[in-house]
Symmetry: C2
Subunit: 347 residues, 2 copies
């Protein structure tokens, strides 16, 4: 890796510091620790079980899983740090500059499936790559309710917006739309949930958005590409740290609000049915899952995101004017949640 190549490629002057890998992987482990501690306290009954693992080609990770808790029916919080000879095609398509180079990747990712259908499923993933002349941060967080509340979506998005706004006013609006685009099930014409933020390929250049994603509706963002002054590595790393630390304040108040809501078989059956969409997204579209499977990652850790119990039912249609119908009609479309006020959206 040479200075000349980097600045040619990224057309700006920020190189990662010499200890970039150690610092980012250190942070990724720390955020895994902090979030596991917060979730254990929240659950109150179960704790996380840890498996450490090594990867043959290079690197390894620590996977933590919680099962049969008071809140969490199943959930996993992963840390990994891997390296190898070359990135898989799914990434090289988007970052051709990395072709022919060894790569380094570290990240944390988690999915929590609560038992109560009134508590949403949550996903977070942040990751950092270096490969030859290029480096970048990516990731995001998104919320998938079954029986949704607009005030929960608003609160969730507001916490994320606050974290983003501390760094740049263009971040939240761009990464919110990117999230709606990325977590989109084309074959169902639904977003996965009420979204959150998502970004990829943040390399410090002024280019905020790189897409459109094959997984998303064509170019939601193509006319809205923010081009900023270049940012340096330190700025982006601080931004990602703030995003990671927004997890607990964004999610725990929702769990607290909904944990005592009673439910019957009707809600449980609908939750199991909707979990099928989660499986469909993760196995058909999710970039992290595909990266993991293509790079001989640890299968059990990659597929930890899948729900403990799932239903599929041919031709299911919710009855009109039910909460189940409202989920797809209102909540699984991109909405401006931060500015939602009671009475809007016919909720």
């Amino acid at each position: 890796m040479t200075t000349a190549t980097i600045s040619e490629t990224n057309t700006f002057n920020s190189l990662p510091p010499a200890d970039s890998r150690a610092r980012v992987s250190q942070f990724m482990k720390q955020i895994q620790d902090e979030i596991c501690a917060g979730l254990t306290e929240l659950d109150g009954v179960e704790t996380f079980r840890e498996d450490s693992w090594e990867r043959e080609e290079g690197g390894g990770g620590r996977s933590r899983v919680i099962r049969e808790g008071d809140i969490f029916e199943q959930g996993g919080v992963n840390f990994s740090e891997v390296w190898g000879h070359h990135l898989p095609p799914s990434i090289l398509n988007q970052r051709p500059e990395a072709a022919g180079h060894q790569f380094y990747a570290t990240g944390t990712s988690m999915v929590l499936h609560p038992r109560n259908p009134y508590i949403p499923t949550i996903h977070l993933n942040y990751r950092y790559f270096e490969a030859g002349p290029v480096w970048w941060f990516g990731g995001g967080i998104d919320l998938t309710p079954y029986y949704p509340f607009a005030e929960d979506a608003k609160q969730f998005h507001s916490v994320l917006k606050e974290a983003c706004d501390r760094h740049h006013p263009e971040y939240y609006p761009t990464f919110k739309l990117w999230c709606d685009e990325y977590f989109y099930l084309k074959h169902r014409q639904e977003t996965r949930g009420v979204g959150g933020i998502f970004f990829d390929y943040q390399d410090g250049s002024g280019l905020l958005y790189r897409g459109p994603d094959a997984a998303g509706p064509a170019a939601i963002l193509s006319n809205q590409v923010g081009v900023l002054p270049s940012r340096n590595w330190e700025e982006l790393f601080t931004f990602v740290q703030d995003c990671g630390r927004a997890f607990l304040p964004a999610y725990t108040p929702i769990v607290q609000r909904r944990r005592t809501t009673e439910y019957s078989d009707r809600e449980r059956n609908f939750q199991l049915y909707r979990r099928g969409r989660y499986v469909e997204f993760n196995l058909v579209y999710d970039r992290g899952t595909i990266f993991g499977l293509q790079t001989n990652g640890r299968t059990e850790s990659i597929l930890m995101s899948l729900p403990p119990l799932v239903r599929w039912e041919y031709g299911y249609q919710p009855e009109a004017n039910t909460p189940e119908a409202k989920l797809t009609e209102v909540f699984l479309k991109p909405q401006d949640w931060v500015n939602w006020t009671p009475g809007q959206l016919a909720i």
Copy 2:
């Protein structure tokens, strides 16, 4: 489509007859009818519900589903006939001669998920394509037991071998291996079940096998490619008809043998867990599913193959020397089932 182009591309003289599309789609509907009738009789309690549907770009189909039967917890038997401007990339990679041409495709596909864990899940799909200068048949049938019996696998394979042998002695050995290769979960290092037969791109040329499949272990077949004298369209169509008609004799005796076997929560839980592998295969690797989703097929019909209830459990390992352990240790590896004799394979 001109004679010259066809014979140049396939290097043999067989053109489809003028009524090829009508004849094949007629057969695909007929086999749907015959198999639904056979399965309804077998189930004895439930019948199939039919939905007819049309596809915007061209064509349509009829989907039939059975639910909550005596034998079948859920299952679908589809017929479809579609056409459009161009084939998706997943097929053009393998058949570049079809690029830039309109296509026609018709087929039948089915997956049946029995409730009793002693009865295997079954899948069948046969399909026919025409696109510019090329045409081909593809498809297969494979059996996925949860609590397997070698005699069932042997009987299943023997019926398929008989159907194949009536047409060419190379068919069964080649298509049996291709099936082991195709229905392979790379990330689990397991075959999906005890296999059956699978073939694709049968265009009448002498080339029996085209691979290796991305989904399979590298080139099981690469040193075993059969090259036959050219076959004509009529010969291949007759072969595919015989394969379709082998479904009931291959599967129904197994159902009859196992339908009264009692089971407890242990077997049921293991079945639900193993159904997760079925979902993983269909959403990550299956060519038919990916074709359907890429060509804006009818999602509910494409995903009819997914099981009604599924479990995922992080880090599950069966205890040593149990039937659950034997499934992966012995049955989910390629085996010569036709020649199995009691005492072999430590079963």
